[in-house]
Symmetry: C2
Subunit: 368 residues, 2 copies
Amino acid sequence: MLRPPLSVLTADLPSTVPFVGPEAQERARGAAFKARIGANESVFGPSDGVIAAMQAAAPDMWKYCDPENHDLKQALAAWHGISPDNICIGEGIDGLFGTTARLFVDPGTRVATSAGAYPTFNFQVAGAGGEIVTCPYVDDREDPASLLALARREGARLIYLANPDNPMGTWWRAGEIQAMIDDLPEGAVLCLDEAYGEFAPAGTMPDLDVHNPQVLRFRTFSKAYGLAGLRVGYVIGEAQVIKAYDKIRNHFGVNRMAQVAAEAALADEDWLDTVVVRVHAARSEIVRIAHENGLEALPSATNFVAIDCGHDGPFAKALLDSLIQQGVFVRMPGVAPLNRCIRVSAGREDDLDIFEQALPKALAAAHG
Amino acid sequence: MLRPPLSVLTADLPSTVPFVGPEAQERARGAAFKARIGANESVFGPSDGVIAAMQAAAPDMWKYCDPENHDLKQALAAWHGISPDNICIGEGIDGLFGTTARLFVDPGTRVATSAGAYPTFNFQVAGAGGEIVTCPYVDDREDPASLLALARREGARLIYLANPDNPMGTWWRAGEIQAMIDDLPEGAVLCLDEAYGEFAPAGTMPDLDVHNPQVLRFRTFSKAYGLAGLRVGYVIGEAQVIKAYDKIRNHFGVNRMAQVAAEAALADEDWLDTVVVRVHAARSEIVRIAHENGLEALPSATNFVAIDCGHDGPFAKALLDSLIQQGVFVRMPGVAPLNRCIRVSAGREDDLDIFEQALPKALAAAHG
């Protein structure tokens, strides 16, 4: 056999990696990062209670996880005031995007998103044979009107929009998103990524409507709940659509530790409030640091701030490279004109001190 | 929109669940099982050192996992004496079967397995649009000669064989498996599931040959390593084939806790030896209990024993139902003539005491 008999769908796909992890960068530079504020993780961590729940559950890891995710699903249903039948839990939103793509995308199916929006969604669509079509951000926001027009023109079956947005941190009000939902083309499904929803002002996320089969709402324990390492996300949707996930999902994919920790995290509302307050304070600090270095910061409804470095992509990249070299893990958007920015996640005081010390040198390096 | 616009591939698939978990059965019966010896988990658990490693890692769960699984992959490569390029780590063997099916299977692609063999493999193949073709077990073993003939006749692109086998516990010697490998049809890839390999006699698993693109070897931390709840498996294969997994896998799918625990477990060779000794002792106990109840037990190279209940499927099912009712979680094969058996996992002394007490009543119930 000269080459493996790969499927038509996958034979010509590249072996890409949607994100290089900070660990790989640490291995490449031969040193650990001093500040890990690049992946929009919650440096404030899970609460002590959630940590204790994980530690107590450790001896039980010989048992397979519940493939129905029953207890966590019940807790989420109660939290949202919906039925468990409207929820599918998966291995992070990334894992759910994989299942969603396979559920809706045939080879050649068009899928609409914004140029520079979340790349793992595109990766998963490509893996199902779909064809990504894009429209630009408008004023650093994913643009509902452009997306709807694009979807109509291209006959897109899925439309992706993150609200609040990653990587820019911008957002729309609930009414504007609801207007988009009301105007969805026949036969199109909106994948509404609300990973950062907990950090947004009240009135950012539209009310749930679990009777609408055209809308899927994606939520996660990776951001505000501080459990990125455990990979737990969920999708809320109309019951028949949600039931379809059972056709192909890895039923045992959300592991036992993840289920235990997510359930404990959901119950700890005080910690969620604490984290949100800390994130708001950290955002203000990042804005202050940007301003003191003569840079503009974009308004943010997330746990990160996009700093406009004031020039083009190569300039921001040079600045970012210097930060990385100085031990500060940050990331930046990949597409112009978004890539005039770097993206800095909310950090603890010491993380932001390190960033504050490194930024002037990085600016000088980029200018030099 | 009257119905969700599902892909052609998934629209007609059933929303099946490959396995109902014991938790679902516990919810249905309104009481916890007294003995959990039905899912071939390791009741002996992970070692104290692995538990401590998990507990120490709990506060770090705010960090995303390394998408390259670098440290665990290096450790596995050293353990096996192969290159990390020959290993892909996934969310249990189940998760890897999903990726494997998508990598190799086009709609209508034939895939050969044995009637009654591991159902999740079939589930994943169906999810990729493949068509399962089967041949029977011969003398309670998956039969290499039958599988090869079937694959030739049907032009199968994948062939599944578990050695040792689940659900029967039977096995082939390495030389017999090697002969099958040497005789694989052009263009066919053997998925050799060795989840239970650590429990088998020396000389059961053929030597690794990472230069052969026609063989994929699947291993897991769910059985001997006692980490079923964390979902870590890996596949060993030729480097180009392994690289193809990066095309579509959920790169962040193996979570941080899983990576930490698996690495610690791999390093603890003493515990592995201890578990294997305990499993062998438990198997002997299960055989003794079967014999004392007038039943035959099949020889086993796994961490479970198939007990031949001496009659047909409905009889074994009645016996199983009584065991379940008495609080003993066990399972049974789904296909005749394998379904004359029940499958009992290696348990601790108290688990097997409970089983021993329940079996005579279950036999009486089945006869009655």
